[in-house]
Symmetry: C2
Subunit: 183 residues, 2 copies
């Protein structure tokens, strides 16, 4: 698999980045669909360098803070392109702890189930609200983010997908809550 490898190669296609920069991207919208901790990123950068997919130069921040700025090599670009155009089967399982609990709902009373599902609904609505703010921000800062030729199209894709995912979760939760409350 080694998907983190491709996540890093993909992020580097626009220019040089430090390990810290890569980590920051995973805290933004991309983090809705992929992320990694710095303790996983730094060793992966070392490995990708050894494999010849990326190289780095050492830059100085301020007077002595050293940071490594990584860039894609030709080999790295080809490796990325091969992965991007490859058609994978869709995964059988997308793990969701809340849905695992839902499967065991017969172990709960109606009141307990109502509480659990209501709590989930509240949290999903909060998240939707955050995503809607990000969406409005993107659409006001970028004129044509929803156009294939825009450099913001990838950003637009992950944001709209995350928005739809949350809206879909909320509407399902509301439907199920109605069934839970039905005498």
């Amino acid at each position: 698999m080694r998907i983190l490898k491709y996540a890093i190669l993909g992020l580097l296609r626009k220019g040089e980045l430090s390990g810290y920069d890569i980590s920051s991207y995973f805290k933004e919208e991309l983090g809705q669909f992929w992320s990694a901790k710095h303790s996983q990123i730094y060793p992966e950068l070392k490995k990708l360098t050894a494999e010849g997919f990326i190289t780095f130069r050492t830059a100085i921040q301020g007077t002595k803070l050293e940071k490594k700025m990584y860039t894609l090599t030709g080999n790295g670009e080809r490796e990325l392109a091969a992965w991007l155009t490859k058609k994978d089967p869709i995964p059988e399982t997308v793990k969701d702890e809340f849905m695992l609990k839902a499967y065991f709902i017969s172990a709960l009373t109606r009141e307990e189930a109502d509480e659990l599902f209501t709590d989930q609904l509240v949290k999903r609505k909060e998240k939707l609200s955050d995503l809607e703010n990000s969406y409005h921000e993107l659409m006001t800062s970028s004129e044509d983010a929803d156009s294939f030729s825009s450099p913001d199209f990838g950003h637009y894709l992950v944001l709209t997908k995350a928005l739809e995912r949350e809206r879909n979760y909320i509407s399902w939760l509301e439907d199920i809550l109605a069934l839970i409350k039905k005498a």
Copy 2:
């Protein structure tokens, strides 16, 4: 975390099961939201036994095939109940390799993007069709699966959620494909 622990405890709440039986459940609808390979299940069963959450008796299948039938202990039931009613924060990241590729769409030509998204759409539609078949099966075999008091309600929940997830994915893919094709 140890979510597999709770998945096993939850499956055992209805009666005794072998490791193989647990593995079979992960290949059915529950597998849409949680699964584990047998190489992870058997050691976990051993651990849960040592911790006193489950016990087993040895049963004979045929004339000499031994299998271990596991049941919940009182401690196991309490452990399960505590997890089931606990309200967790929603995860920041739900990993999706296709969406990671989507984020990097600016590295693809319009034709490549069209191919990638069309392939995903075809696969999602096939999966939706499978899930619809399972849904019709459930609804004909069980009169009131959509009622809180039905023993099939948990099954109904995972199936309807998986169905909605795929429908949502499909409609988003169709919207984006229209944008990709737009000159």
